[in-house]
Amino acid sequence: MSLKTLTKPWEAMAYGFLDGSAKREIRRKMIKAIAVPGCQMPYASREVPMARGWGTGGLQVSLTLVNPTMRVKVIDQGADDSVNAASIRRFIARVAGAPTTMDTLDADLIQSRHRIPEEILRDDQVLVLQVPNPEPLRPVQPNMSIARQMHADADYGRMWLQLYEQIVRSGRVMQGASYPSLVHGRHVMTPSPIPRWDVPKLNMAQHLTILSAGREKRIFAVPPYTRVEPLVFSDVPYKVEDHAGLTCHRSGTRGFFMNEIPQEDGSSAFEVSDSEWGVKAIRRRDGEEVALGETWYKNGRMPS
């Protein structure tokens, strides 16, 4: 054995951009996060060639998990062609040589900002959610070290109080996206700013979800078949966005989360937020043979 056989020729960049020590740390933190579902694990969070707040947490996880055979899908607000999704997809493909796809069914690794695709994810798929603020307690306790202690004590009273106050003041829970949810009956987490529509998709899901906040340096996870329960009072049921009856004006698909497009005549048109689902629906309508996966929602309802 010589030094030559043990070393590799110099390269300008490690495979997948991150160096070995960064990947090792992220792997360890992911395993910890999976072991304690919903609990935030601090990690060093290296700088990547992208601005903080633009998916650097999700990117570090994707770069750690990716290999040259993994098919990668990147979405932003449901759309594959959104400029930042395009930028992240191009970066992962460039530094990891991974093939990319827009079809949820073909993807092995899905990095997403603020949406879970409408087609049911399988147990061989990993969903990586970008997280701007990993701390569900931030609105009631902006100090991270105190919030950490509150999680340790399962001290969620102020969280409940906040929801109660919203009901008293506005007649309903006013939380839009990022609905705080109890994971595995222990830790309250933010599911990242996915709409309320998407939170039930995490409950007892077959796939692994990793949530990563690069700027705030926290990783947490929802392992397969884990309970994710939105915080609700027993007599005030959880309400998803009222999108069940909306029809996409471009694809004709109905019963999914929609983008509202204001019209000049003062009305609104709607288009399906999961852009690739819309694309596939149009292709099928035009006579192409397209595989549509089974969806979480059926006729606009989540089967319980």
């Binding site: 960049m13 490690a14 951009f17 740390e25 601090p42 060093a44 969070s45 290296r46 700088e47 990547v48 060639p49 992208m50 601005a51 903080r52 707040g53 633009w54 607000q77 449901g78 759309a79 594959d80 062609d81 959104s82 930042n84 999704a85 395009a86 191009r90 603020h114 701007p132 100090n143 991270m144 070290s145 009901i167 506005s170 007649g171 309903r172 829970v173 006013m174 939380q175 839009g176 996206a177 700013p193 996915i194 709409p195 529509w197 700027r215 340096k217 007599d235 005030v236 049921p237 966005e241 009222d242 999108h243 471009r250 694809s251 989360f257 509202e260 937020s273 819309g278 694309v279 149009i282």
Partner: protein, 354 residues
């Protein structure tokens, strides 16, 4: 027609980058050399914030970003994080610094002397507009002092400690890779001393100034006296694998000691950074001085100022608001409209809790 122009996003970002770069034209080695020579203080500032000491790379980052400082620092940080760690240099002590400028506001004269060094402090801030009329502004030559000031001096706090005026800082005796490194470990609170000083050294100058100034104006508990401000060069001493200790060169550093005069002893606040950046180290040392016992959530509390002066994180988050947020916006609109509808027709909300 396709549902979306599938590659539209990629084409758009490519063209927008070209548009940005078109304004700056060619980046040439000459341009890099000129930036490096003409703007040492700007180079110093971004080297400090990037925590990467390389004047050529810093000048390149400035050229590549057209002087967009946050982008320049991010470029350097992203480059830095990929670099292997060949060696960890020996600790630099204050009395070993090759000192160019060192002043104390606490005493009229100090052991080793007040050394004014290079500064614009007493300059009349008048624009040299004649340059715009075609004249060259040539700096007047410096007349060397009759007696050179000693290049190495003890710190003022060392004298104060000797005289029982303050408790000297105690060393944790960590060296090499045992020193906690904030770029390879998460910052948790209460922060390790090394993490605090490293974070302040990397902090964004404007952010540190804003919070440090708030503390100086009265939002902090302690009013600082500049015990010592020093601009110097530090010897980077490393050990060759064969065992030889040698200097790999010198880097410019700034450091500030500030003290408060409350109680029976002086309290010391300290900050140091790479490059010469006086405003930053005075403001950062003020924050350090004020952090002990600061109320949770106040601007002088460690967690508050370390998080919020991190330039790459704060600028990145600020500009991320440009990204589309229509899913989250839609989700909130839905709740808002429903709440409004309930107010308009309260009898139509049959849920038992109401």
């Amino acid at each position: 027609m396709a549902y979306v122009a599938t590659r539209g996003g990629e084409r758009a970002i490519e063209q927008s980058q070209r548009l940005f770069c078109a304004e700056m034209g060619d980046i040439t080695p000459d341009r890099i050399a000129e930036i490096r020579a003409a703007m040492p203080y700007l180079i110093d500032r971004i080297m400090g914030e990037a925590s990467l000491y390389d004047e050529d790379l810093a000048a390149l980052a400035l050229a590549q970003t057209g002087g967009e400082l946050y982008e320049a620092v991010l470029l350097l940080r992203a480059w830095r994080t990929t670099q292997p760690r060949i060696s960890v240099a020996e600790p630099v002590t204050q009395d070993a610094l090759f000192t160019h400028r060192r002043i104390s506001a606490a005493f009229k004269d100090i052991p080793g002397g007040q050394v004014l060094g290079p500064t614009l402090d007493y300059a009349h801030r008048i624009l040299a507009t004649t340059v715009l009329d075609g004249q060259v502004s040539t700096p007047d030559p410096v007349t060397p002092a009759k007696m050179a000031s000693p290049p190495r001096q003890p710190s003022v706090s060392a004298w104060q400690a000797e005289n029982g005026l303050l408790s000297p800082a105690t060393s944790d005796h960590l060296t090499g890779n045992d020193i906690p490194d904030v770029t390879r470990e998460p910052l948790l609170f209460p922060a390790k001393r090394a993490h605090t000083l490293q974070s302040l050294a990397r902090a964004e100058t404007g952010g540190v100034l804003a919070l440090g100034y708030a503390a100086q104006r009265g939002y902090g508990q302690a009013h600082p006296t500049v015990n010592e401000l020093r601009l110097a060069e530090a010897e980077i001493v490393v050990t060759h694998p064969r065992g030889t200790r040698f200097s790999a060169g010198r880097v410019k550093v700034s450091q500030a000691e500030v003290v408060s005069k409350k109680g029976s002893q002086l309290e010391l606040g300290f900050s140091a950074t790479m490059g010469w950046n006086e405003v930053k180290v005075i403001a950062a040392a003020t924050l350090d001085l004020n952090s002990k016992g600061a109320p949770k959530g106040s601007a002088t509390e460690e967690e508050f100022f370390l998080y919020h002066t991190e330039g790459v994180e704060s600028s990145g988050f600020c500009i991320h608001f440009k990204l589309p947020h229509y899913v989250t916006f839609q989700s909130s609109l839905d709740a808002m409209r429903d709440a409004k509808a309930r107010k308009a027709a309260p009898e139509k909300s049959p849920e038992p809790a109401e």
